[in-house]
Symmetry: C2
Subunit: 336 residues, 2 copies
Amino acid sequence: MGKPTMEDVAARAGVSRALVSLVMRNAPNVSAQRRAAVRKAADELGYSPHVMARSLASRTSTVLGVMVNDLRNAFFADVVEGLDAAAQAAGFDLILNTGGRIPSREGAALRSLLSFRPAGVVLLSPVVPAAAIEAAARQCPVVLVSRTSRLSTVDTVNDDGEAGAALAVEHLAQLGHRRIAHLDGGGAAGAAARRRGFRQAMRAHGLEPIVVRSEHTDTAGEKAVQELLSSYSPAPTALLAGNDFNAVGAISALEEHGLRVPEDVSVVGYDNTSLASLRHISLTTVDQPRAEMARLAFDALLERVRGERTEPVRHLLHPSLVVRETTGPNSGEAQR
Amino acid sequence: MGKPTMEDVAARAGVSRALVSLVMRNAPNVSAQRRAAVRKAADELGYSPHVMARSLASRTSTVLGVMVNDLRNAFFADVVEGLDAAAQAAGFDLILNTGGRIPSREGAALRSLLSFRPAGVVLLSPVVPAAAIEAAARQCPVVLVSRTSRLSTVDTVNDDGEAGAALAVEHLAQLGHRRIAHLDGGGAAGAAARRRGFRQAMRAHGLEPIVVRSEHTDTAGEKAVQELLSSYSPAPTALLAGNDFNAVGAISALEEHGLRVPEDVSVVGYDNTSLASLRHISLTTVDQPRAEMARLAFDALLERVRGERTEPVRHLLHPSLVVRETTGPNSGEAQR
DNA sequence: GCCCTTGATTAGAGCGCTCTAAGCTTGTAG
DNA sequence: CTACAAGCTTAGAGCGCTCTAATCAAGGGC
């Protein structure tokens, strides 16, 4: 438990504390001989510099705060992995928090992150009020992922939900579908953009958009399908779910109603989580480039940290469609 | 970007820095009047204490290092969520790292965590050599989750994989199954215990254990089933997969072979991930109490931090069986 | 031989906080 | 009126490090 300090290393190597500091930071202008002696002493003592002390003394931080509202959501877990990869490569460390989509908890989590005086903060789909974000941005660079903002002090990284939804509609229309319904994600992250994109794309194809309110869970997907089947007499032949979980729930409900996927009804998900790629599910879905989103978020932070940029940046990533086995041609059912 | 310091608050409130420190720590023996004045000044300035400076000065740490090998694995994501919940409640913060199941990367990640001089470190299913763990344990309390160890300086939290496998075998035997196969997880965390438990339980029921080598992925599950069906002439009527993903892959392969689940073959998973509870899959599986594991890991750390305990503790949690719709009675097929 | 440069090393202040010990008020007993 | 305890408040050292400025040795030019 006794952790050696720089002073201990200096004593053992017979040099000053300052010299040890220079060696630990790989500074130039240290003779090879002393450098070796210091390295040796450090190794023998199992010494490694105290990050917090370094941070305090150098008035710089190598810590990145990350607030995620739900790690169980594979989308966020993937983004965190991506952030960690970028951070490790650049010598940064992540301090991680969850906010549980509860504004008060997220606020506390954010404050907790800021008390580390991090180099920057990444908020994954936060629900805190804009004022809280603005306040945070006064302390350090802030990047929002899966949330938009008009604040000129924060950067944002989002996937283009409108384009993603349009991609799905395009695909389904090409397969001959006319009656296409969207299971709306409600207030969830990105749901509004998807809904908007769905509506626009449908109209662009001269089709009437059908939107059923749902949530980003599988049980909500089941419920939405039941509602859909009971309220629309010629049932839709295709569905764009709010996300993958929602899609899987929808598929369950469809099958319970004796409708086969994709023969009777095509289903498209959103997110391309690991769930979608399971052979047993093999869901056609819209892929958000999570690794790239993480990379961009990290880079945006770094640019601000280095003072290379002061104007906000708005990344809108283009999603792509991954066609699997839950979509197929409209089965010749009367074209209305 | 200009962060106020304790000195600023002191000046504004017209008191000394030390008094501000006392107020921020909710120390007793501060007059209500001064306390209010300090609070007010702090609020107006948007001040919150610098955790790192505090840590340095107080020679204590409120940081917990967490190394996880793969956040994408829902099991680990759940444990991290649990750790975060416990940490937040106790005023600790998590610094999070991934090691990717690569010893060298995990080693670097661990060193990185230790350079924060954390109060303790939690390693989730690490693959680093015992020597590295021992070295870490000399620096601060270490808890291993999903990995065993004989080191008297570290605590461990594991689920009882033997009992879990036995639970599954018990369930299947009770349903009349005799030819039960286990898709072995190979070198994955916990796989050895499950294999052992499976073999023992089978023998205890007077049954011949069938073990096929696999991995903890769905594609491996498919492959394993194909192998199984081609090498065992009376095909097994029940399967215990290595984990849930593996089980889903197995189900796909079974269905492709025209075998229905559970009518022809029963399938049991392991982990009870969110996947398993999807109605569309509805997998019978063994549940590891992840939240409790996280809680115990945190508590073990805290006990060591507080010096309340020096002997190692070995938590072996009892898993439970969650029966859903992928298991059913042996369909009267010749009882061998 | 002297002055300067150049590169290597170190002293010492200070980062923002905690903590111990000392100082300052009061109130009260003698 | 003095003494002293109890309750508040503060001075000042120090946590482990970085960084600036100073020191020092070793040449090199004249």
